[in-house]
């Protein structure tokens, strides 16, 4: 498939997770790699980056998925042609010898060249390439970096570069200063041709913009569906952990296991009335569920709701009578309370079952 610039369409997402995993983790099974490929495609990724190591491991690529192959040598160029991989990625220094570039172009490969960019001046330097003979063989420019670019001038400068060179632009923001995803979203808003990211932002040094954050931003903030499916994020997270051994923080946006746990009285009260009061989207959209936690910040409504979950009906007044005990126990233990803690507090407060047949009712005795 072609991957040249097309301003009428939205950006195509490229994922570079698998080469980063191979670069760092090393051992991973062929089946896991293929599973991850399919999940990436189903989530909304348009092109999956691979390299010689991955090709060697898989021997044969699954059909129905589009790849971009990072060429690091003559052998790599031959492998790209042999396996009929339409898109290939070269580094800037490979432009110096035109032979490999010509060979790939003559074989009908669509070539992207990667440039590291850490300043606007660097973008202006790249625009001087328009005099280069090799440029005629190149389809796209990948700009990797932009770590500290927060203002709009980078968008204008990249747009100018695209016009000057007449090539497609692929933006691959690094996450050195924690703005990688935001830069990727900015690139999408400004219709860059391609945006390259990785799952959970995984990658060398500080990694890249995070794939799941970009996809969720496109779908939920920018309201542009673009064939994005976030429901498989828990499964992708599980596979990612298996392949890398990385333990993700429980608050990792979209994929952290605790992001839909809620405790504070204000939030619990709000979520009880309408979850959208304190949640940016329904947990089910990203394959998760919300969970009420009881602890120091709980209010009476939370306690009533938690007791209902435990099959215990109690009034707001009864809940208020044990609120202080709940908070003190949580502070003492330094954690949320488990069901047994709550039952113990109920026992100490002498709240007993009122009528078993009538839906497990309790009352103050």
């Amino acid at each position: 498939m072609g991957c040249g610039p097309d301003k009428a369409k939205s950006s195509k997402i490229i994922d570079r997770t698998v080469p980063e995993i191979f670069c760092r983790a090393g051992k991973t099974s062929r089946l896991d790699v293929i599973d991850l490929f399919w999940m990436l495609k189903e989530s909304g990724v348009g092109l999956i980056e691979i390299n010689s190591d991955i090709l060697k491991k898989l021997e044969k690529l699954p059909s129905g998925i589009d790849f971009i192959f990072r060429v690091a040598s003559e052998d790599g160029a031959d492998a790209c042609i042999k396996h009929d991989i339409k898109n290939c990625l070269l580094t800037e220094n490979m432009l110096q010898g035109n032979d490999m570039v010509k060979k790939l172009a003559c074989a009908g490969r669509e070539i992207t060249v990667e440039f590291e960019v850490d300043s606007l001046d660097r973008l202006y330097d790249i625009s001087k390439l328009k005099k280069s003979e090799a440029l005629s063989f190149i389809r796209n420019i990948r700009i990797t970096g932009l770590g500290n670019f927060i203002a709009l001038p980078w968008v204008d400068a990249v747009g100018q570069l695209r016009r000057d060179l007449g090539k497609g632009v692929d933006v691959c923001p690094v996450n050195t200063y924690y703005v990688g995803t935001a830069t990727a979203v900015e690139a999408y808003i400004h219709k860059m041709d391609f945006i390259t990211v990785s799952f959970a932002g995984y990658g060398v040094q500080h990694g890249y913009g995070a794939l799941e954050e970009l996809l969720a931003s496109i779908k939920l903030l920018l309201k542009s569906d673009a064939g994005i499916n976030l429901k498989m994020l828990p499964e992708m997270t599980r596979l990612f952990k298996k392949m890398t051994g990385v333990v993700l923080p429980d608050v990792k946006p979209l994929i952290g296991r605790n992001i839909f746990k809620y405790e504070s009285g204000i939030h619990a009260d709000g979520i009880e009335k309408d979850p959208s009061l304190y949640e940016p989207f329904e947990p089910g959209i990203v394959g998760q569920k919300r969970q009420l936690i009881i602890g120091k910040h709980s209010g009476t409504r939370s306690i009533v709701k938690k007791l209902e979950e435990l099959g215990i009906s109690c009034s707001k007044e009864e809940a208020a009578s044990i609120l202080e005990a709940v908070r003190n126990r949580s502070i003492k233990l330094g954690r949320a309370l488990c069901d047994d803690d709550i039952r113990e507090i109920l026992g100490a407060a002498a709240i007993h079952r009122r009528e078993v047949r009538d839906g497990s009712r309790y009352k103050n005795s």
């Binding site: 770590g147 500290n148 670019f149 927060i150 203002a151 050195t176 200063y177 924690y178 703005v179 995803t181 935001a182 979203v185 900015e186 808003i189 959970a200 995984y202 990658g203 500080h206 990694g207 995070a210 954050e213 931003s217 903030l221 990385v246 333990v247 993700l248 923080p249 429980d250 608050v251 946006p253 979209l254 952290g256 605790n258 992001i259 746990k261 809620y262 405790e263 504070s264 204000i266 939030h267 009260d269 709000g270 009335k273 309408d274 009061l277 304190y278 949640e279 940016p280 936690i293 602890g295 120091k296 910040h297 908070r327 003190n328 949580s330 502070i331 003492k332 330094g334 954690r335 949320a336």
Partner: protein, 281 residues
């Protein structure tokens, strides 16, 4: 820490609201002392209206005589505000629901009611001699003309500063930059930005808000907070240095050390809590 941007640390209020964190008086006081030692401008110490140990914690922190200014968080209720005043906190922060969803679904009040009560509460604090800041809860989903009404009302009643709160973490550059600029052009009030990290953009959104003119930035240590957490303090400091040229004289190594100390206090007290660490670096 000397820069045009001032940090409001809300680890002890919004950070502690992360499900599962339950700090006692001793831990809150220890954390406040560490925050003070790194030059944090303002420590949002807690919610006195909760009563019990929480109120005592805010009181104790206010009594320490820290260089950092100590604030207490309140709903739009005079009875909450009176509780905060009793603690001796220097700044009374009043959180005002600002989006239609917050007004009609949670508060079940209309816009006139909110503006009247905002004026009443701010005026009450000023009469009692307290510095007041007003938080626009869920500002990122609010009707912008109503936001301007709230900002104007708060400013005219004597609020020192207005906080733009991205309560559910849905901001991105265009929106926050444009709205902060627009508020500044209408009302000459100091602005504070409060972001959440639901889409992984809390640090970037805070940077953009600062670039647009918000001089106060809310952070939490380790990024702790509801759902995916808040703007991570250390990450914001690093980003502000690189992107805005701020905090050039700050010793980042010292901040890292103190961040670890605070995380250690929280982790010791609440071992089930995990932070947003640079685990991918």
């Amino acid at each position: 820490m000397e820069a045009d941007i001032k940090i409001v640390d809300t680890t002890l209020r919004d950070g502690e609201q992360k499900a599962g964190i339950a700090l006692g008086l001793k831990e809150k006081v220890r954390i406040a002392k560490v925050l003070d030692s790194i030059g944090i401008y303002q420590i949002e110490a807690g919610i006195p209206a909760m009563g019990g140990e929480e109120k005592k914690s805010v009181q104790k922190i206010a009594e320490l005589g820290l260089k950092s200014r100590v604030s207490a968080w309140n709903r739009l209720k005079l009875e909450d505000i009176r509780q905060s005043m009793e603690t001796g906190a220097q700044i009374i922060h009043i959180s005002v629901p600002s989006s239609n969803i917050q007004l009609y679904l949670k508060l079940r009040k209309d816009k006139d009611w909110v503006i009247d009560n905002l004026k009443r509460c701010v005026s009450y604090c000023r009469e009692k001699g307290f510095e007041v800041t007003v938080g626009l809860e869920d500002a990122s989903r609010a009707d912008f003309s109503f936001l301007l009404q709230l900002v104007s009302a708060a400013f005219l009643e004597g609020a020192e500063r207005v906080r733009y709160a991205d309560t559910v973490g849905i901001l991105y550059r265009q929106k926050i930059f444009d709205e902060i600029k627009a508020i500044k052009s209408h009302v000459d009030v100091d602005l504070e930005i409060h972001t959440h990290n639901d889409f992984g953009m809390a640090v970037a959104n805070s940077i953009w808000a600062a670039e647009a003119g918000a001089r106060y930035v809310d952070c939490t240590v380790g990024g702790v907070g509801e759902r995916a957490g808040n703007c991570n303090f250390l990450q914001f400091m690093l980003a502000a240095r690189a992107c805005l040229g701020a905090f050039k004289d700050v010793d980042i190594g010292y901040l890292e050390e103190k961040e670890k100390e605070i995380m250690g206090i929280i982790a010791y007290k609440c071992p089930s809590v995990s932070f947003t660490l640079d685990m991918l670096g």
